[in-house]
């Protein structure tokens, strides 16, 4: 059962085995929940939006045309549901006007020969990244999640979000730059960089 592809499960659902949809939910719920939380910045709202997205996807399944993968199609639904929820809440993405401007951050990192506490610093590194993503503007954390967690290509992200390639690349760059800045700010020297 577990080795079934999304396609196999969808075929079973469409053939009348509706209970098989639970497998599809279990397969995608964690990543989808992560995306929803990153967009809505609230677990309760994210859970509600995700339930709505799964039910919408189920109802729309007979019309699924296999033009893209199920995950791309489904995450487009999640994205749209969350975007609607955001607009209802009055939260619209505020992206600075120089978003499209190319930026090249400094690569300067001081060197040191000290031995860092590897385990602690790895945990600290992960904590900083998570905190920074939580605080990150929704339009950036969404792209970051789609790219890293969902492992989507630029083209797939464009398909999900409806954004042009330049914007996708730029938001991804800015999101990563923000994470990098937070890490460098936290670790005033490069000790941690040795251990990560």
């Amino acid at each position: 059962m577990k080795d079934n592809t999304d396609q196999d499960i969808i075929r079973r659902v469409l053939a009348g085995e509706q209970k098989a949809y639970a497998e599809l939910i279990d397969r995608h719920k964690e990543k989808a929940m992560t995306l929803a939380v990153r967009m809505l910045k609230n677990k309760f709202d994210a859970e509600e939006a995700l339930q709505d997205a799964f039910i919408r996807a189920f109802k729309a399944l007979p019309g699924f045309e296999w033009k893209s993968s199920f995950s791309t199609w489904f995450y487009r639904i999640v994205f749209n549901v969350c975007s609607t929820a955001l607009s209802k809440k009055g939260n619209t993405s505020v992206v600075s006007i120089d978003e499209e401007r190319d930026e090249h951050l400094s690569l300067e990192i001081r060197s040191t020969d000290d031995e860092p506490d590897v385990e602690y610093e790895q945990k600290e590194f992960a904590r900083i990244i998570k905190n920074e993503i939580e605080m990150m503007e929704e339009s950036y954390s969404t792209i970051l999640t789609l790219f890293f967690l969902q492992e989507m290509s630029y083209e797939e992200i464009m398909s999900v979000t409806g954004l042009p390639l330049g914007t996708v690349k730029n938001r991804l760059f800015r999101a990563r730059s923000q994470l990098r800045t937070a890490v460098i700010r936290h670790f005033s020297n490069e000790k941690m960089l040795e251990s990560i």
């Binding site: 639970a22 039910i55 090249h104 690569l107 990192i109 492992e151 730059s177």
Partner: protein, 181 residues
């Protein structure tokens, strides 16, 4: 060879750079400690984001499936069976009240006769099967034997019979009535 920009380093980590530029940057990284550290940090960042999962509550899937899957519609029998417990309780309470009134001030013989006529006519319709069950019940429940001859006993028995009948009917027909939400 120009130094790589941060954007290029990120694209290098993602593996989406053009092959020629990828090779150039690879050579530069090999000769630069600071670039190696930068690449290590970008890779670690990617790994952290990639690893993180936010799990929905445990009942998440079952709640969605409850919304999606066809639900059992409450048939008329099911509703009757469900509500009959209330009706049965009410009948019992009313009977107790009636019995209390009867014991405190016995009704006229004509009223008793009317009631007996009603119950007699009701029980006679079930007579063929009912009397046998009744005799069995009387045999095994000698302490309430006397009660079965009273109005309370009869009403309790009739109430139980109706309740059981509704439950059986619901089991037979209720579950077959499915409807999609």
């Amino acid at each position: 060879m120009k130094n790589p920009t941060m954007q290029e380093l990120m694209e290098y980590v993602d593996g989406v750079l053009e092959p020629s530029r990828h090779r150039e940057i690879e050579n530069m990284i090999a000769g630069s400690k600071s670039l190696q550290k930068e690449i290590r940090m970008l890779t670690a960042m990617r790994a952290v984001v990639n690893r993180e999962r936010i799990a929905p509550p445990k009942k998440f899937t079952s709640e969605i499936m409850n919304d999606i899957l066809p639900q059992r519609q409450e048939s008329i029998w099911f509703r009757l069976a469900k509500n009959s417990s209330n009706v049965f309780a009410m009948v019992v309470v009313l009977t107790l009240i009636v019995m209390a009134l009867v014991s405190s001030s016995p009704p006229s013989s004509s009223t008793m006769n009317q009631l007996n006529t009603v119950f007699n006519s009701f029980s006679s319709s079930f007579n063929s099967t009912f009397s046998q069950i009744l005799s069995l019940v009387q045999e095994y429940t000698r302490p309430i034997d006397g009660a079965m001859k009273t109005i309370l006993g009869k009403m309790l028995f009739i109430g139980l019979f109706i309740f059981s009948l509704l439950v059986i009917l619901d089991e037979l027909f209720g579950k077959r009535m499915m409807v999609r939400k």
